[in-house]
């Protein structure tokens, strides 16, 4: 930061900013460029940084050569299911940790935090076997339920709920408000930025998830879009332009959600940062 402040003049800062933007945007530019190229252009050496004509056919190929709609529908169901499930499970849990005193609370919260440190690769097999024994393999449940109890989400929400003044809760209780009503009318409105951030993080994490849908599914019934894109690569062999077109279609929903939610997210991080 200090180095930054000592830089001579705004001009240099602008130049460095532009350079940084170019560096960060380059992978995206390359993805978009590849998605619109012909195979010949993709393979050309030295590479070209523009296209002669936009190959919309790549998107049509990506869409038709795998069952794109099927995978997209599965991704939507699993992503929305996980987000809603988290809301149902995490909000009451965070409220309890923030506002209740009970025996073993600290130990229990420690366990919740510890779950954040367990790599998924360690738990996939026992859960896989559990799902197999209970007939839940290749169902939406198997891809939603394990992810709705998030330690990160409980931690972040607990921190936010702890900021709500005691007086507000006492006033509500004097008015005979139920715990559900307190959560719904006091806690959740106060935590909208945090909830938005969690929703976005969950959306991105679930939408992009590759490993668990890969190892927990053995049929196409509930497979998600990242697996579909991977399949596109396997089916198409060396056709990076079609795979990149598929990848572009994969990230569009994430960009849209980010654009819609960005104000709330900035608020959440600002709020947590100044605490």
């Amino acid at each position: 930061m200090r180095v930054w402040l000592r830089l001579p003049g705004a001009g240099l800062r602008i130049i460095i900013s532009v350079l940084l933007i170019v560096i960060f945007l380059m992978p995206f530019y390359w993805m978009i460029l590849t998605a619109f190229k012909t195979l010949g252009e993709v393979l050309r050496m030295p590479p070209k940084f523009w296209v002669d004509s936009l190959q919309w056919q790549n998107f049509r190929d990506a869409f038709t050569r795998i069952n794109f709609l099927h995978y997209t529908r599965n991704s939507l169901i699993i992503t929305l299911g996980t987000m809603i499930g988290q809301l149902v499970v995490v909000v009451p849990a965070a409220y309890a940790f923030a506002r209740y005193q009970f025996k073993g609370k600290n130990a229990l919260f420690g366990i919740v935090l510890a779950t954040m440190m367990i790599p998924g690769q360690l738990i996939f097999l026992p859960i896989f076997v559990m799902f197999a024994k209970s007939g839940l393999l290749n169902t939406y449940v198997s891809l939603i339920v394990p992810f709705i109890a998030s330690g990160t989400a409980i931690f972040m929400l607990r921190q936010t709920f702890m900021q709500v003044p005691d007086s507000q809760l006492e006033a509500a209780r004097l008015d005979n408000a139920s715990e559900f009503r307190i959560i719904y009318t006091i806690m959740m409105p106060a935590a909208v930025p945090t909830l938005s951030t969690l929703a976005l993080l969950t959306f991105i994490g679930t939408w992009n998830s590759y490993f668990f849908p890969l190892v927990w599914t053995t049929t196409d019934a509930v497979r998600t879009l990242p697996l579909g894109i991977q399949k596109l690569q396997d089916v198409e062999g060396l056709s990076p332009q079609i795979v990149m077109a598929g990848n572009m279609m994969l990230i569009v929903p994430i960009l849209l959600v980010f654009l819609i939610a960005r104000k709330q997210i900035i608020k959440a991080f600002t709020y947590m940062g100044v605490k």
Binding site: M45, L125, V129, A132, Y210, F211, T219, K231, L238, P240
Partner: protein, 436 residues
């Protein structure tokens, strides 16, 4: 998309699973089994496929419409990803009790699956059916057997070959068949380098299968000893090979690519400045198409010969495995499907539509293969190369070893580490895994 990166973690899980399963013992062959009995209702079989999904799906569709309809067997094909993802899923399914009836996986996995009691010994089925396996004798069949017992059917076969940029060769007065020996390789690459100023050859060492071919052909050695208890990776021959490649790399004649550069490696085949590349014949049709897009006439030649004309190429590709699951009649039905899948016409179809070699001698006599070989003469070169074929190491931990060797050897080249010392350390690590 970085495919390799997304698979490293699953791979580690596979290794853990293999370790869990390693305690299981191979079952003895049952003395006999009953032949398949067609029932009134349709018998459903699950078939997990790996690689070239469209070809496998088409074959299954053909079976369901013909032989399957006749036998009241319906096969459900489910694609599971590449060979390593399949291995992981099979190991997990074995623990969970959800194995499919039949599956495809890489040739070198036979022993690992058999040791874990995942696959069935096919000898009783062969005996009951009086099935003739002699037609399979294309190349080394070692990876199908454990002892004298057949544990897998060949599905698609490949060997590493040398792809030659014939367009560049013609322009620079080089042999369009590439160098015939390793002794000629450096001069060949030097001429191409002088003409283009670019590295004329790329090497992707993480496909260790190609390194196996180089060890056999250049150094007349193998990765592990015969009973697979000790590594040969620090042997005199291996040191000679690694030194030879490092020397070419330091002169700019070979570019070694890192683990994340797999796509760049394959794309290099369409680079007009690339003279040679060693890769699987399984990619032949794809590579030829890519090269043609850049105006390159792509030729196929054998991996160069080493001293005294010695060559050795590991036979790769995939096998079909009969899983140890289901009723006796389901197993017999699965064997019926495996027989059909490996039959002459189907083997020819799979080969002609991919680049892999057929798995039956009689397939080579089909009109389809004759037409394919006429249009793509590289098939004939690869078939001829099978004369020098070797089996791949069979130990259940070989994939773990391959990854380790690929990484360590690339480190030697890219970081200029001392060769003998580094290979001695690597050999110790490999021995530890082999004797774990």
């Amino acid at each position: 998309m970085n495919v390799w990166g997304t698979r490293v973690t699953p791979l580690l899980a596979t290794i853990a699973l293999t370790a869990v399963l390693a305690g299981c013992a191979t079952t003895e062959a049952e003395s006999s089994v009953a032949a398949y009995e067609k029932g009134d209702s349709v018998l459903e079989l699950n078939f997990w496929t790996s690689a070239v999904e469209d070809v496998n799906q088409n074959l299954v569709d053909q079976f369901n419409e013909t032989k399957g309809a006749e036998l009241n067997i319906h096969v459900n094909a489910e694609y599971q990803g590449d060979y390593w993802e399949m291995q992981q899923k099979i190991n997990a399914a074995a623990i969970a009790g959800t194995l499919p009836n039949v599956f495809i996986d890489e040739v070198a996995m036979t022993k690992g699956f058999a040791d874990s009691d995942i696959i069935a010994n096919l000898e009783p089925f062969i005996e009951t059916d009086k099935f003739d396996t002699s037609d399979f004798k294309i190349g080394d069949l070692g990876n199908l057997y454990l002892g004298d017992d057949l544990y897998a059917f060949p599905h698609m076969r490949s060997v590493p070959v040398m792809y030659v940029n014939k367009t560049l060769a013609a322009k620079e007065g080089l042999d369009p068949n590439g160098p015939a020996t390793f002794a000629e390789l450096e001069a060949y690459l030097q001429t191409a380098y002088d003409a283009t100023g670019q590295p004329p050859m790329y090497l992707f060492n993480y496909d260790f299968w190609v390194m196996e071919a180089l060890l056999h052909s250049y150094s007349d050695t193998s990765v592990v000893n015969e009973d697979e208890t000790k590594s040969n990776i620090n042997s005199k021959g291996a040191v000679k090979l690694i030194t030879f490649i490092e020397d070419l790399e330091s002169k700019g004649l070979i570019k070694v690519l890192g683990v994340t550069d797999k796509d760049a490696y394959y794309a290099s085949i369409a680079n007009p400045g690339t003279a040679l590349i060693f890769s699987s014949v399984g990619g032949y049709k794809t590579f030829a198409g890519m090269a043609a897009e850049s105006g390159i006439d792509l030729g196929v030649s054998m991996i160069p010969a080493g001293e005294d004309g010695k060559r050795g190429v590991p036979v790769g590709g995939s096998n079909t495995y009969l899983a140890n699951t289901g009723t006796d009649n389901e197993k017999a039905a699965a064997f019926e499907f495996m027989k059909w899948l490996s039959d002459t016409e189907q083997a020819a179809y799979a080969s002609a539509n991919t680049g892999y070699l057929p798995t039956r001698l009689t397939s080579l006599d089909t009109d389809l293969m004759k037409e394919t070989i006429a249009a793509f003469p590289g098939y004939k070169v690869a078939s001829d190369e099978l004369e020098f074929s070797k089996m791949r190491p069979m130990t259940g931990t070989y994939h773990e070893i391959e990854d380790l060797m690929g990484t360590r050897i690339n480190d030697i080249w890219l970081e200029n580490l001392p060769i003998q010392e580094s290979l001695d350390t690597l050999a110790k690590e490999v021995d530890d895994i082999l004797n774990r």
